[in-house]
C-alpha cells in the first residue's frame, strides 16, 4: 500500500515538473548518469533549433553533430563539467549564460541539470552603454583642451596682465578643468575594460623598473608633502606585463598613499618574490588616514570615494582602484588591502610570474 502511494506521488510530481519546465523561460537540458539527454524543454528546443524527438536519449558527445548544440558540447565536455553562469556565444545574435549543476543522491551523480539563460539583450545594451561612454568621453576631449589652452593663455599673460584675485580664481578654474580631463581619461579606461580589450602590449619587464618609474614621476608630490618613502626590494625576474597599464596601477595606488597620508608621513613599498606560488608580491603601506571599516568592501567598485577622504580632498575620480583591480586581474593577479582609520592602509598586489605570452592563454586573458 505504502509502496503504491509513494509511486503515485512521484509520478504526479514528475508530471507537474514537466509542466513547469514547459513554461520555463530558460532553456533546460537534463542528462542522466550516463550523460545521455533525458529532458529538453520547449525553450531549449527553440534556442538550439532542435526537436526533442531527434535528440532525446543521445549522449552529450553525439549532440555535437547538431550545429547549435556543438558550442555547448565543447564547453561542457564529454563528462559535463559543473559551471556557473558561463557565457557562451551560440551564433551571432545569441549569447547564453550556461549553468551546469550535477545532482547527486547518496554521493552518486544521478542527473546533470543544464540551465541556459538568454543574455543577448543584456550584452547588447551593455555594449551600447560602453560605446556611448566612449563616444561621450572622446567628444569631451577637444572642448576640455580648448578650456585648458584658453585659461593657460590668460594665466601666462598672453591676454594682458592679471591682478592677484583674477589669477587666483582662474587658477582654480584651470585646476578644475584638469580634473575633468582626468575624469574623461578614467572613463575611457573604464569603457575599455568593459569592452574587454584591456591588455595590449605584453612584454617581458622588470616590475622593479615599473615601480621606480612611477616613484620618479611622483617625486615632486612626495617632496611637497615631505613624505618618507622607502622601496625595499628583492631581486625579481622579468615577467610578462603590459607596462603602460601596470604603471597606471602603481600610480593609482601610490597617489592614494600620497594623497591620504599627512605631511611628514611614511610610505613603504616592498617587492618580494614568492618562489612557491610563482608570483611576485608588492605591498604599499602608508600611515595615512585609512579607510572607514564600514566602507571597506566597496573600495574597488566604480566611483567609490571614502567619506573621510571627501572631507579633506576633493581630487580623485573614484575610478582609480576599479581600473587598477581590473588591470591586475587581467594579468592573472590579485589585489586587496588592510586598513585602519587614522592608522593607515596597506595595499597588497600579487602578479603571477609568467615569462611567455602563451602562459596567458590558459589564464584569464582579456
Amino acid at each position: 500500500m505504502m509502496f503504491f502511494r509513494k509511486k503515485k506521488t512521484k509520478l504526479a510530481n514528475s508530471n507537474s515538473n514537466i509542466a513547469i519546465t514547459n513554461y520555463l523561460t530558460d532553456g533546460l537540458l537534463v542528462f542522466n548518469s550516463e550523460n545521455k539527454l533525458t529532458l529538453l524543454n520547449p525553450r531549449a528546443e527553440m534556442l538550439f533549433e532542435v526537436l526533442e524527438g531527434r535528440v532525446l536519449g543521445k549522449s552529450i558527445l553525439e549532440l555535437a553533430r547538431f550545429e547549435r548544440l556543438s558550442p555547448l558540447v565543447s564547453l561542457l565536455g564529454g563528462e559535463i563539467k559543473p559551471m556557473e553562469k558561463t557565457e557562451l556565444q551560440i551564433k551571432e545574435n545569441l549569447i547564453l549564460e550556461i549553468t551546469s549543476t550535477p545532482i547527486a543522491r547518496d554521493g552518486e551523480r544521478i542527473n546533470t541539470l543544464i540551465v541556459t539563460h538568454d543574455i543577448t539583450r543584456e550584452k547588447l545594451s551593455d555594449k551600447m552603454k560602453t560605446e556611448f561612454v566612449t563616444l561621450a568621453a572622446h567628444q569631451l576631449r577637444t572642448p576640455t583642451s580648448g578650456i585648458k589652452w584658453s585659461l593657460g593663455g590668460v594665466l601666462d599673460g598672453s591676454y594682458g596682465e592679471l591682478n592677484e584675485s583674477q589669477k587666483e580664481i582662474l587658477t582654480k578654474a584651470y585646476k578644475t578643468n584638469d580634473k575633468v580631463i582626468e575624469l574623461v581619461r578614467d572613463l575611457l579606461d573604464v569603457a575599455q575594460i568593459e569592452e574587454g580589450k584591456y591588455l595590449r602590449n605584453l612584454v617581458l619587464t622588470s616590475i622593479e623598473d615599473v615601480i621606480k618609474t612611477v616613484l620618479e614621476s611622483r617625486k615632486q608630490e612626495i617632496m611637497n608633502k615631505k613624505l618618507n618613502v622607502e622601496f625595499q626590494r628583492e631581486d625579481v625576474q622579468k615577467i610578462m606585463l603590459d607596462i603602460e597599464k601596470m604603471e597606471i596601477v602603481f600610480k593609482n595606488i601610490l597617489d592614494n598613499a600620497i594623497r591620504y597620508t599627512s605631511i611628514g608621513g611614511k610610505i613603504i613599498i616592498t617587492l618580494n618574490r614568492k618562489e612557491k606560488e610563482r608570483e611576485v608580491e608588492i605591498h604599499i603601506k602608508d600611515n595615512g588616514i585609512g579607510i572607514p571599516e564600514y566602507e571597506q568592501d566597496r573600495v574597488f567598485t566604480k566611483f567609490f570615494r571614502g567619506s573621510n577622504v571627501m572631507r579633506i580632498d576633493t581630487e580623485g575620480t573614484g575610478l582609480g582602484l576599479y581600473i587598477s583591480r581590473n588591470i591586475i586581474e587581467a594579468h592573472g593577479g590579485r589585489v586587496w588591502f588592510e586598513s585602519k582609520e587614522k592608522q593607515g592602509t596597506t595595499v597588497h598586489v600579487t602578479i603571477p610570474i609568467k615569462e611567455r605570452f602563451g602562459e596567458f592563454l590558459t589564464g584569464k586573458f582579456y
Binding site: R141, S145, G146, W149, G152, G153, D156, S158, V184, N201
Partner: protein
C-alpha cells in the same frame, strides 16, 4: 621669421594656438583638414608643421606618411598635437618620423611653444 603650419580641424583650438604663435613672433598658416594640410605643406613652405591626428578625410598619420615619402617635404619637422594618448599611437607617430608627440590635454599653449622652439633650434 619662422613659419608654422597648424593642421587642426577644431576652430577654437586652431585659433588659440595660432594666436599664441603670432604673439610669439611666428608667421602662421592654417589648414582645417588633412587634404588641405598636405596642400599647404607644399604651397606654404613652413619651417615646422603642428599636426593633429584625427582629421576629416585623410588623417594626420597619412599626412605624415605623405610628407615623409616626398623628398622635398621629408625634412620639414613635424610635431604631432593630438587627443590620442595611447602608447601605440605615440610610438607609431614617432616611428613614422614625427619630431615630437604632444597630447593636447597635457600642454598649455606656452608649453607647446617651448616644444616648438626646442625642435627648431
Amino acid at each position: 621669421m619662422k613659419k608654422i603650419l597648424v593642421v587642426e580641424d577644431d576652430k577654437f583650438l586652431r585659433e588659440l594656438i595660432s594666436q599664441k604663435l603670432a604673439k610669439e613672433g611666428y608667421d602662421v598658416a592654417e589648414a582645417v583638414d588633412g587634404e588641405k594640410g598636405i596642400e599647404s605643406v607644399r604651397s606654404e613652405n613652413p619651417d615646422l608643421v603642428l599636426l593633429d591626428l584625427i582629421l576629416p578625410g585623410i588623417d594626420g598619420f597619412e599626412v605624415l606618411a605623405k610628407m615623409k615619402a616626398d623628398p622635398k617635404l621629408a625634412e620639414v619637422p613635424v610635431i604631432i598635437l593630438s587627443n590620442l594618448g595611447q602608447k601605440d599611437d605615440i610610438e607609431k607617430g614617432l616611428e613614422m618620423g614625427a619630431n615630437d608627440y604632444l597630447i593636447k590635454a597635457h600642454f598649455t599653449p606656452g608649453e607647446i611653444i617651448e616644444k616648438i622652439e626646442a625642435v627648431l633650434k
